[in-house]
């Protein structure tokens, strides 16, 4: 089995796509059910973390800029680590991720162990 990092991204910039506290609350159950489903399949390695909206980006010339590093309008909202036999299986497991209900996406990346 290989391990994969699932990175959750969604629109964090434009105001019309922000979630209300009630919406955030109602997202809790689908997230917990999805994580529970992965764990019940013994595919969850780490429940990961959610990331706060605020961030800093430190550039090579020591310039510090506010806000998460956003190339496009999408920001990373959180991550988990799962295990799967292949990257295709990992992608398949990501298809029920609740981030997809709010027009976000999941990036699937294999972890490469350090030698």
């Amino acid at each position: 089995m290989k391990e994969f990092l699932l990175i959750f991204r969604r629109d964090a910039v434009s105001n019309e796509n922000q979630l209300s506290p009630e919406q955030m609350q109602s997202m809790m159950k689908p997230w917990q059910d999805w994580m529970g489903s992965l764990a019940a399949q013994n595919k969850l390695v780490s429940s990961g973390n959610r990331l706060a909206d605020e961030g800093r980006v430190v550039k090579s010339n020591h310039v510090v800029i506010n806000g998460p590093y956003v190339e496009t309008k999408e920001a990373i909202g959180g991550y988990i680590i799962i295990k799967a036999n292949s990257i295709d299986e990992a992608a398949e497991l990501s298809k029920n991720c609740p981030i997809l209900f709010v027009e976000g996406n999941v990036e699937v990346r294999e972890l490469v162990p350090m030698d």
């Binding site: 159950k29 994580m35 529970g36 489903s37 764990a39 019940a40 399949q41 969850l44 429940s47």
Partner: protein, 409 residues
């Protein structure tokens, strides 16, 4: 209490106390000598009490006799030549304090728990030692509980004691900085000890109940000591109280398991449920949410038999969290059952089929139940598959009934 009941009773309650105090005094390297002294004392009790009648205070009699035997031993063997002789002069042996006060007994037992649950031994060996030394179980009873033979247990215990000797494990509480880590091992052993009694396939219901009670008694000692009174220790005790509240309701007179759904609620022990709630409340401090907290909370919801959305939604979320801490097939199956109650059977079937536990009869039983009313043929197929895999007689009967009920429709 009659004499023939009194000695086994005292053996259960006093053996561990005297042995802990003596082990503490002699050091773990002489654990067998302590065992011999206490066994001799009980042997003498059954002979003497039979001839001369019961002493006024049988417990005090046991303490005095074992004390004297310990002093005799110390004098004869001079085992403490390298150990205590520098501190105590030879002539003072007879006055030597063998402290059998309640306080020292409690302290010694608690320290003994940590010694027995030392990580140098496997968990199986730790449970064996706990049963033998802290619970006063005979090799035969331990073999029965583990569903193995006396030889195996005898060897396992001897090896485990040897290991404690070679590792020079001291009989003492770990230092404060190590206590929470070492306590984890102790709690795991108590949890397994309890499970051994609660889920064992041994038909000896008396023995199984004893195992559970012993685990609870040891756990109680932990929460009664300020150094080991941690949230996890309380959560584990709470879990045990909730589970054992159903003891009388969960087996019939032949020792066969009665399923939760079919239990007579009136037989549930309300006092134990209250105790469970008490320790669950005591466990809810600090920031660490252990698996015992989650399992205790699940067990709490199971003390309410009425099906409500709130109950099953809570149980589902607790299982979701529990599985994130630690995967186990049984938790995965129970989570899926809770999912069917909270989110509906169709969702649950999709989730169940992802579990891929085809070799587990409970997996097929679960799917059989989920397919009832949705696809009768598939329900029958799964129950039949479960029947091929199942071992215990009670489970067989349930499956056969399910299949014939479905075929009758």
């Amino acid at each position: 209490m009659q004499k023939d009941e009194l000695i086994p009773h005292l053996f259960r309650t006093e053996y561990r106390k005297i042995i802990s105090v003596l082990c503490k005094l002699f050091g773990v390297e002489h654990i067998e000598i302590a065992e011999d002294i206490v066994s001799d004392t009980f042997l003498m009790a059954s002979e003497t009490w039979g001839l001369k009648g019961l002493p006024k205070n049988p417990t005090a009699w046991l303490y005095t006799v074992s004390k004297n035997k310990a002093i005799d031993f110390l004098r004869r063997e001079r085992i403490f030549q390298d150990k205590i002789v520098s501190e105590i002069h030879q002539e003072k042996i007879t006055e030597m304090e063998i402290d059998l006060s309640k306080e020292n007994i409690n302290d010694s037992q608690l320290q003994m728990m940590f010694t027995i649950c030392h990580p140098c031994n496997s968990t199986e060996a730790q449970i064996g030692l706990s049963l033998s030394i802290l619970c006063g179980f005979g090799v035969e009873e331990i073999a029965d509980a583990f569903l193995t033979n006396k030889e195996t247990i005898y060897k396992r215990l001897a090896r485990a004691k040897e290991k404690l000797r070679t590792e020079k494990v001291k009989i003492e509480l770990p230092v404060q900085s190590e206590i929470s880590e070492r306590l984890e091992t102790v709690l795991t052993t108590l949890y397994l000890l309890f499970s051994e009694g609660y889920y064992s396939s041994s038909k000896n219901t008396g023995l199984r109940k004893d195992l559970c009670l012993e685990a609870m008694r040891l756990n109680l000692m932990l929460v009664e000591n300020s150094q080991t009174d941690t949230p996890s220790a309380n959560a584990l005790l709470s879990l045990m109280c909730f589970h054992s509240s159903r003891f009388e309701a969960r087996t019939d007179k032949n020792g066969e398991i009665i399923l939760y759904e079919e239990q007579d609620e009136n037989l549930w022990d309300k006092k134990l449920v209250e105790k469970g709630e008490h320790y669950l409340n005591r466990s809810s401090t600090g920031i660490n949410l252990s698996k015992y907290h989650l399992e205790a909370a699940i067990a709490y919801w199971h003390t309410k038999k009425v099906d409500t959305t709130e109950k099953w939604e809570n149980i589902l979320q607790l299982y979701n969290k529990l599985l994130q801490i630690e995967y186990s097939p049984i938790a995965a199956l129970n989570r899926t059952y809770a999912l069917s109650k909270a989110n509906g059977k169709k969702d649950a079937i999709i989730e169940a089929e992802k579990l891929k536990l085809e070799d587990n009869h409970l997996y097929h039983s679960l799917l059989g139940n989920l397919y009832i009313g949705i696809d009768q043929q598939k329900a029958i197929e799964h129950f039949s598959q479960a029947l091929l895999l199942v071992k215990s007689g009670a489970d067989r009967n349930v499956l056969i009934n399910n299949i014939s009920r479905l075929n009758a429709k």
